[in-house]
Each structure stands twice: as structure tokens, then as C-alpha cells.
Symmetry: C2
Subunit: 501 residues, 2 copies
């Protein structure tokens, strides 16, 4: 078999593997939105079987042989094909290196930890969760040994979520963010009365909130012939397959913001999924570049667009039509309410300024755990110390402290930093879009969001994971990833919202 | 490996195969209820991949080896295990005997025929569909050669839907039904004014129809914690997995009957799926016995229960509460309306009396086609002749004649007779239930439908496909399958509705 035939056979096999992933994605979506209660156990078995079959087919030794045949004549491939082979090789190597026994131990430990976490959080009982985290850390260390890692073990964990990111670069980044964001919190909170949120609190009928969200999501250009929106207890976006991207949302009756910004956030993810080049469908490159890049899309739409004054100038009339209490409320008032900064204990409720400080707390603790410099038993004290230092408040118990997030119970250490990277990328992309699309603010003010979607599609979405995250950002913006655009953006906005200077 | 270990390994493998079937079932359900338009192509690929993977795993030569090891020590297994091995062997033999090439030719021919049928029906153009049917017949003949068949080739087709049924026995059966039902049609239609349906025609708000249907489905004991009800353009029931049985329905605004009886019909199927013994879940026996038995459950609830006078005595008050136009309408009026007999061209709209005559038309044509006694080009003439003879009317065009059903375009010859078998089984089961449950009519009149569900569960549902259809009926009713209970039931009911004697 020549290299060309081997390549074709590889992609044919990969397409089937992706079909199995799509099937599993649909089963998971259904589990969160549709599944009858008593079907849960059987669904777990179906998902386990699909995962096993997928793994078995993907790691078939024949795949390795075909990859070797392609490598033997690598220079004969064009750049796109080389990128396909590069991603496929990486995925194949990682999948085959992990012994089945370790994968199964991990699945069992995760399953136990997830249950343990739910109980421990309900009782605010860190010692009950600690053994689960210890076990997961032990398995994560073994996983890093097997797969190899860069300078530090934490780099190996980052590989699962943000290939190319390193602990060292994140240490520098978070030090910078800590020193420049933490002081700003105090500065803003002294002027808390300047961003009053009372206009977005009260009774907002859910059917009408749904209408408002639909208007915005349609304006963003989310294609409802290639997707849908349902309800679930935790909002998410699932890119199931080409032409099938699904968002979920939830509503809070006494605050206009959570549902609206939740669905804009998920639709930002959804536009990414819908924008991946159709020629990449069912190929190794046909998925998102990294979690950080994915998050950059949701945060750009949610925060930079959705919490902007032009946005509220465009959509305040719609909101007023739906909710009589908003008649006569100026777009500026809604905009200030949407940008109100508050000290809070809970990451998912945090505003743009404090959000990255919440992430900084988690990053500091994770890397200390992985280095072995922090004992699992000492996490609560470390958490509370970090919170005091960065946010000026200490949780009353561990349920609203170090037990609040699900991530560690899933063994997902190295995940949190991608949230902050997403915030940084989003501001850098936004600066570039403003440069390249004259009158962008004015078009948003007219409710025209498609020019921005088209720009993001061409610069980010269409490429799938053809380029590593840093290269994608540099190609899109002309500069390597940097925190400066985000810091400029945030300073400018808070200065305007809170009349700081 | 000893026989016991081989058996355990077989069941472990089978459970995974069933998980893949469940996944495919969910994907298909989603396709009919939820899937965005642009996701259709990708869904087709996912389903094809799942079918391929399922087939590959099920026909793994190792399964054949394990079956041989079990057969070598067959007497050491108990009756339930023997039944498991019997069904597994049959399925395995059929799956492995069919060459992959024939399976693929079939899939391609079906896919083309389905599209060809939709076009041909839209234009009422039989000659446009004829080549597709010829091709499918050719492939069906080859399939019969490969798989083997009983006395006649048509028996081989029946094997896919109603194992144990034979053309010869159906010929006798339909001759009997033709000679005894056809004269009844004229007798009843002379008294058409005695079953006036005007009370169930008019404007019935869909939200309220939904409420009425929900009340009935809950009364039947369909467990909504182990299932759900959605809308689709064609109603169906999908038993996806243990604890997950889904019904769909559609509504017609100007007639109360289609939605109500549609959902009772599907809930009848759904109770069967929910009632299969939990100990059989994910095993070869953990599915319905046959299509005929499945249909017996839907028809029993739809026709024998749902179109009975006790049923309307129970639910007329609910209907009147929801629809003011039904206030003052006596249960007897609703019961007569539900049982109105009408000559019609379309099988799916037919009443209980004429329904089996519609099936008889199809059976006669199918078996002539398979024998080679009827040319595909001559189907319209044969159809119209049969319709004239049995129903006294001739379709104005083939769209409402021989092109009306989807079945032949899917290569499903041998399927139609199971509808009639279902009607016969349902009446025989009903007679037995009446014998064994004293006061059954009175309990239905009180809206208490659970005693009947429990009886059906114990006698039919719980066994899955442990027994062949005829044996199941004999165990449940004390007698082998017979048409007499159905003929008695129908005669009695029509005599009452139309005051025949």
C-alpha cells in the first residue's frame, strides 16, 4: 500500500471513530435533557460500551501501521494533510500508550470521586473527599509518567486541555494578573454605587426571557437549522456533528442576567462548532483547537459583546418591549448593571474582573498538589488563604470554598487555567477585529452581529485544530498571545462603568 | 474454557451488542423528534457506522466458537439458559450467513427504493417505483436462498417478522377472514346512521387533547419515569433500553380520535417494552417475542379497551371537562363514534372491521409476487381488483392504492400479516383476561386499567422472547392461536354498536 492509499484508509477509519464519538455525544446530551430517570443506569452502560468500542477501534494496531506508511513518505503530503497526520499521530500515541488497566482504574476512581464529591459538598466535608483526590493524583502522576511531559509534571496535565501551555508560562501570567487585577478590585468596590444592578432584578417571566435570548442568539447568527436550544440544570454546548450543535440553558426568575449571559456564552461556543470548515468534518482536524480557544469564543460574545454599551443600545428596546419594568431604563443603566463587580465566593457567579482571580486560586493549589508541596488535607487552609489575599474574603465553609467545583472530582487538574487563557485570547481577538472591521461598534449598536461572526469564522472557527493555539492567535491577530489586550480592555471598561479616573 | 464460562462470555458480549443497538435506537428516535434539519446527513453516517460496528462484533468468529462450546454441553443448562442460547444461535446464524455484499446491496437498494417510492407516490406513478420493487424482490429471493426457508419462499420472509408463521397457514386464515368479514361490511354499512361520529368532529384544542391523552396513558400505567412522550410526524414507540421507552404522537385538530387512539396504540407497545423482565435486560431474550405479539398489545389497548363502552364510561367525564362541546354527550355516543365503520382506501385510517381486509389485499399481492405469479407491472390492476372484491371500492389513483404504504420500499414483504395476527392474538388474550379477572369490565369502567396491565405483564410482557409466539399465546390463554375469539369479539361489538340483530 502506498502512502496515499494509507492516508485515505486512515481517514476512512477516523471518520468511523468520529461517528462513534458523535453517537456518544448525543447520548450524553440526551442524558442531560431528555432521559427518563429510570433510564440512567442503562445509559451509563451504553456510554461505557461506546467508549470501549471507540478506543478499541482507534487503537487498532493497523492504525499504527498506516501512520508509519504515511510517515515514510511524509514530504509528499501537502500542509493540510501533514497537519491531519500530526494530530492523528499525537492522539494515537496518547491513546495507545495508556495501558487499559490504568484507563479502567481512572474510570473507576473518577466515578467514585464524583459521587464522593457530591456527598462531601452537600455536607461541606473536605476530609470525606480527600481520599478520592489523593487517589486521582496518584493516577494522574502515573499517567504523566506513561505519557511523558515537558519540564514539569503539570505540563503533562495541561496537554489534555491546552496543548503547548506550560506551568512556567502560567506562573508568570498569573503573577502578572494577580498584581494588576487584585488592586483594581478595591478601587472599583469603593465606587460600588456607580454600577447599580437593581434594574435587572425583580420578576422576569421565563417565557419572555426565552424570547429575549432567542432574539440575541439569532442575531449572533447561531443557525437553528443546524442546532437547537433546550433546557438543562447546567448549561452547556455540545457539537455533536456537522449540522448538529446543541445549546442548553436554565432560567432564574428574579434576575435577567444569568439566563441571558448563559445562553450568549453557550452560543459563542456553538458558533465555533458550527463554523468549523465543512471539509474538515469527520477528520482529525475537524474539532476545536483547544479549550482556551473554545472559551475565548464564549467569553468574547458573553462579555466583550454582550456586556458592551453598543449591545445594550441595540437590545434594550427589545428587552423593554418584553418587560414593562424596563421601559424607560436607559441602555447605560442596563450596561452598568451587566458589569457590576462584586466580591463573591463562587467562581461561576464572578464578574469579569474577579473571575481570573478565582482561577488563580485554583491554579496555585493544583500545581502545589501536583508538585507534592501541598498535602491534600491542607487544601482548605491554602484555599482560604488565597481567597483572603486575592479577593479579600474567606468562605464560611468548604462547600462554598474548595469543594465548589466539579473539576477535581473528574480528575481534571490543569483545566482551570484554560478559562483565563480564554479570557485573554478573547480580548486579543477583539482588538484585532476592531482594527480590521471599521465601524464594528456601530454595527453592534444596530444589532448587526454577523460581521463579527464572519470575521471569527474566517480567523478562528474554520481552521478547526489545524494550528496550535498560540499559532492560531498569532495568525488571527498578528501577535503572539499576550495578557495586555485583556488588561487594556478591562481597565478601559471599568473606567467607563465606574468613572474611575 | 468450560461451557459455563463460555456462556458467561457470550452474554457479556451480547450485552455490548445490545448497548450498540440501544445507541442506534436513540439516534433514530432523535432523528424523528429532535434532529436539526442540517444534521440529517451526519446522522445517516453515524447510524451506518453503528450498524457496521454492531454487525462486526455480533458476527465475530469467537461468538461462533463460544456457541459451539455451549452446545457441546447443552444439557447442563437450565431451560432459561437454553432459550437464551437458542435465540442467540438463530440470530448469529442469520447474521453470519448473509454475505456482506448482499447486505450492502440491500441497503443501497432500500435507500434508492425509499426515495423512489416518495417520488412515485407524490406523482402517483407506479411504473416509476416498479424497478425498485423488482430489484428488492430479486435481493429478497437471494436472501431466502442464502438463509434457507420452510415449505415456500414466503416463509423465509416471514421469519424476519413472525418466526413460525407460514404462508400456508396464513392462506387458510385470510380465506376465513375474507369469507366472514367481507359480508359483514355490507351489513354494517346499511345501518351507517346508527354510529354517528359528529360528536368527535369539530375543533379540539391540541393542548387539551394532549391532557386527555396523558390522563389515559397514565391510567394505563405507562411509567413516565421510565419513558417519555414527544411529537413526531408519524407516531411510533421505541424501546431504547431498560427504563427508557419512548412514545411519539401527532395531533389532528378537527377530530378527537386520531391522537387519542394513536397514543393509546403506542402506549400499548410501550407497556410491552416496559414490562419485559428486568432480569432479561441486555440478554438475547430481552426483547419482544414477535411483531404480531407486539401488535397484539397495541391493538388490545387501542381497540378492545379504548373503543369499549366501559372505557368511555370512565373517560367521558374527563373529555367533557376538557371540551365543552362534549358536555352532555353520553358515553354511548362517544363509544359509537369510536367504532364507526367506513369504507376507506387507506389502511392506516381503517376501522377494526375493514382493517384486516386491507391486510388481506396486501398479503395476496405479496405472495403472488414472491411466487412469481404476478408481474410487478401488474400490481396496480391486482390491487384494484382485490379492493373491489373485498371493500367494494377502487382507488382513483395508485397514490391512494398500491403506493400508499412505505413497507415495500423498505423491502419489508411478509410484514403486513403481522398486523392481522396482532388483531387475532389481542382478542384471544382479552377473552383469557376476562376469564381470569372477574369484574374486568367494571374495573375499566372505574378507570382502573392496572389490573389488565398486570395480567398482560405476567402472561406476555415479562417473558420477552423466551417462547415462540404460538407457545406464548397457548401458555397465556390455554389454547393455540385461533381466529375465533377475534371473530366473536368483532361480531359482538358490531352487533351492539349497530344493533344488528
Amino acid at each position: 500500500m502506498d502512502a496515499r492509499a494509507a492516508y485515505a484508509e486512515l481517514l476512512r477509519r477516523y471518520a468511523e471513530v468520529r461517528d462513534l464519538s458523535s453517537a456518544a455525544a448525543l447520548l450524553s446530551w440526551d442524558q442531560e435533557t431528555m432521559l427518563p430517570r429510570k433510564g440512567a443506569a442503562a445509559r451509563g452502560q451504553q456510554l461505557a460500551t461506546l467508549a470501549g468500542v471507540r478506543h478499541e477501534r482507534f487503537t487498532d494496531p493497523r492504525v499504527g501501521e498506516l501512520l508509519a506508511e504515511c510517515r515514510a513518505d511524509f514530504d509528499s503530503f501537502d500542509e493540510l494533510q501533514k497537519a491531519q497526520l500530526r494530530e492523528l499521530t499525537t492522539d494515537f500515541d496518547r491513546a495507545t500508550k495508556l495501558p487499559k488497566e490504568l484507563v479502567e482504574q481512572f474510570a473507576a476512581a473518577e466515578s467514585a470521586a464524583l459521587e464522593g464529591w457530591r456527598d462531601a459538598r452537600a455536607k461541606s466535608d473536605w476530609p470525606a473527599f480527600a481520599p478520592h483526590l489523593s487517589r486521582l493524583l496518584e493516577l494522574l502522576r502515573r499517567k504523566c509518567e506513561v505519557l511523558g511531559f515537558g519540564a514539569r509534571r503539570y505540563d503533562g496535565l495541561l496537554d489534555d486541555y491546552e496543548k503547548g501551555a506550560t506551568e512556567a508560562s502560567l506562573v508568570t501570567l498569573f503573577a502578572d494578573l494577580r498584581s494588576r487585577l487584585a488592586p483594581l478590585v478595591g478601587e472599583v468596590l469603593e465606587r460600588a454605587d456607580r454600577a447599580d444592578a437593581s434594574c435587572v432584578k425583580g420578576a422576569f417571566e421565563i417565557a419572555k426571557q426565552e424570547q429575549l435570548a432567542d432574539v440575541v442568539v439569532r442575531a449572533m447568527g447561531f443557525d437553528l437549522d443546524a442546532g437547537r436550544i433546550d433546557r438543562s440544570s447546567h448549561p452547556f454546548c455540545s457539537g455533536i456533528a456537522e449540522g448538529d450543535t446543541r445549546l442548553t440553558r436554565r432560567f432564574v426568575e428574579d434576575d435577567l442576567r444569568p439566563a441571558l449571559y448563559g445562553v450568549i456564552h453557550e452560543a459563542g461556543h456553538g458558533l465555533y462548532e458550527q463554523g468549523i470548515g465543512v471539509e474538515l468534518a469527520r477528520t482529525p482536524l475537524g474539532e476545536a483547537c483547544s479549550l482556551g480557544i473554545h472559551e475565548s469564543q464564549s467569553r468574547l460574545w458573553e462579555n466583550i459583546v454582550g456586556r458592551s454599551l453598543p449591545f445594550w443600545r441595540a437590545f434594550a428596546p427589545t428587552a423593554a418591549r418584553l418587560f414593562p419594568s424596563l421601559c424607560g431604563v436607559a441602555p447605560e443603566q442596563l450596561w452598568r448593571a451587566a458589569n457590576r463587580v462584586e466580591r463573591s465566593l463562587i467562581r461561576v457567579e464572578a464578574d469579569e474582573l474577579t473571575y481570573n482571580l478565582h482561577v488563580a486560586v485554583r491554579f496555585e493549589i493544583e500545581r502545589a498538589l501536583v508538585r507534592g508541596d501541598l498535602a491534600v488535607a491542607d487544601v482548605p487552609a491554602a484555599w482560604n488563604g488565597q481567597m483572603k489575599e486575592l479577593l479579600g474574603m474567606v468562605p464560611g465553609n468548604d462547600a462554598e470554598g474548595c469543594l465548589q467545583d466539579i473539576h477535581w472530582s473528574m480528575g481534571a487538574l490543569g483545566y482551570f487555567p484554560t478559562y483565563t487563557l480564554g479570557n485573554l485570547y478573547s480580548a486579543q481577538l477583539w482588538e484585532a477585529a476592531q482594527r480590521e472591521l471599521p465601524g464594528l461598534d456601530a454595527s453592534i449598536e444596530r444589532g448587526e452581529l454577523l460581521p463579527l461572526r464572519e470575521w471569527l469564522r474566517a480567523k478562528v472557527h474554520a481552521h478547526g485544530r489545524r494550528y496550535p493555539a498560540a499559532e492560531l492567535i498569532e495568525r488571527a491577530t498578528g501577535a503572539p498571545p499576550s495578557a495586555e489586550p485583556f488588561l487594556r480592555y478591562l481597565r478601559t471598561k471599568l473606567t467607563a462603568v465606574y468613572s474611575l479616573d
